[in-house]
Amino acid sequence: MTRLCVLQKFTTAVLSRALFLRGCVTSRFLDIHYKGDSGFWFILISASCLLFGCNSNEQTDRPEATPPTVNQLSTPPADSAEKKFAGQIAGRAFFQGHAPARKVIHMNQDAACAAAEGNPAYSEEVVLDFGPDSSPTGVASQISAGKLGLANVFVYVKAGFPDSLLSFFKRKVGTMAPVILDQRHCRYAPHVFGIQVGQTLKILNSDPTFHNVHASAQKNKAFNLGMSKVEKVKTRRFDRAEVMIPIHCNVHPWMSAYAGVVDHPFYAVTDTTGRYALKALPAGEYVIEAWHEVFGTLVQTVKITEAETKTLDFIFTRR
């Protein structure tokens, strides 16, 4: 409601009551029935307010601020069904250089883990795509002149959305399905994931053993959840954007995951070939950051127009 409207309502309320009471009070003192008198004024003022005053049912939302950049939004974007926005930034993350050997993990401290996973088990820190005929181990001391696809890179829009759009994304969070983090075969699945501020993170324990989920967040509230065999589901939410929050299991030290908490839904994690895509973007100029747990972060800026698809690759090297 506008301030004027509020004032009008308040005045009506006060005046009419005052008049009514005055009538009652006066009548008591003077022992004369003045009620009819004050009632008349009450009706007069109320009626005039109703007829000429503000409308309390204001359906039309006026936008709170004019967005300062290129686009004016009139309808919600980012619903794939709507297809209002068709901008896309896609590409591949690569690693170039002397590929590190994959670390072996020993799961024998817990019989339940050792039974589930094949032998040997490998760490997920660096997962490279050696091409169609690669073996899981990769080649131990391969010197690669070319580039290898790098999995588990978190790619997201670091900047570029106007405040109005960000508020819109915030409002949409309640409708989003939860992000699932599972503990299966003594690993977190997925190893790297994105989630929006306020979105529900549903944590599952699909293993017949005790895990815990220790999130060492700095900007968010850190948490440490024990999940025994019978504690199959727990949920959490993050209040602030934070890239990235390390999550690990204290009982099984090789288990780790990373959560990228951002305030919009435009994020992706590269697949086993290193590919990612950010879809349904409005036109604009965006700062895109790619993060990898070992090789650090890379930042690039890209400008797209409506329905344009731009390719953006990231090439990581050994530090």
Binding site: K103, H106, Q109, S141, N212, N224, G226, N250, P253
Partner: protein, 242 residues
């Protein structure tokens, strides 16, 4: 009752057990004397109509006697316990071929760090010079039999306690402190290292294994971890980042 003690396999474990037995016999004797006297009095002096209790307020001589006797016994027990305590906790025997291992307690595992063939823990200088040879592994501790093993205890998060029941060794691992403990085990085998100080909801089940190897086994293990002639050890891992 002391039959339930886990079989002792360490050098000073036997001495600890000896004190255990001494105190056991003393306390058992005292208990049976006291309980016996109580039961005897309860039967002999049970209520009889017409009988009058002995009207006495005490006996000063008796007070002095039993006070002095108890005091002396307790003081002697304390004094004779001291040397063993000193030998275990205040000194580490420095022998020729002792093994040193660093054990860092963390929720909910024991992080074991071996100094490698050079006998020293890696420093920044080693990192620069490329002579890193420490080996770190979780929960697996290999030591040779009949050798003094020095354990350097640290903690990454909360208080844990390094405990090997059969060796009778226990020492808390405290964050912010580096604490030395030692033991020498006389029998090869596989022993458990539970955590003996509440450290969170994973405290139960926080378990390492101590492999006490015969000289041959120990050599074999060392060669596996630090291959003698290899230039590039595939299994060397630097300490994990936080």
């Amino acid at each position: 009752m002391l039959d339930w003690l886990p079989p002792n396999v360490s050098t000073y474990g036997g001495e600890i057990d000896y004190f255990f037995y001494v105190i056991y016999y003393i306390t058992a004797a005292v208990f049976f004397l006291v309980a016996g006297a109580m039961i005897f009095f309860m039967i002999k002096y049970r209520f009889k109509e017409g009988r009058r209790a002995i009207y006495t307020h005490g006996n000063t001589t008796l007070e002095i006697v039993w006070t002095t006797a108890t005091f002396a016994a307790m003081l002697i027990l304390a004094v004779v316990s001291k040397p063993l305590w000193g030998r275990i906790k205040q000194q580490t025997p420095m022998t020729q071929n002792m093994a040193t291992v660093q054990v860092t307690g963390k929720q909910f595992n024991w992080e074991v760090l071996y100094p490698g063939p050079d006998g020293e823990f890696d420093t920044a200088a080693d990192s620069a010079a490329g002579t890193l040879d420490d080996y770190q592994v979780d929960n697996d501790m290999h030591v040779p039999v009949n050798t003094v093993v020095r354990v350097i205890l640290k903690s990454k998060d909360v208080i844990h306690s390094f405990f090997v029941p059969q060796a009778r060794v226990k020492q808390d691992a405290v964050p912010g402190h580096t604490i030395s403990a030692w033991f020498e085990i006389t029998q090869p085998g596989k022993y458990e290292i539970p955590c003996a100080e509440l450290c969170g909801f994973g405290h139960s089940g926080m378990l390492g294994h101590l492999y006490v190897d015969t000289p041959e086994e120990y050599e074999a293990w060392k060669n596996e971890k630090w291959p003698p002639a290899a230039a590039d050890s595939a299994n060397v891992q630097t300490p994990e980042q936080e």
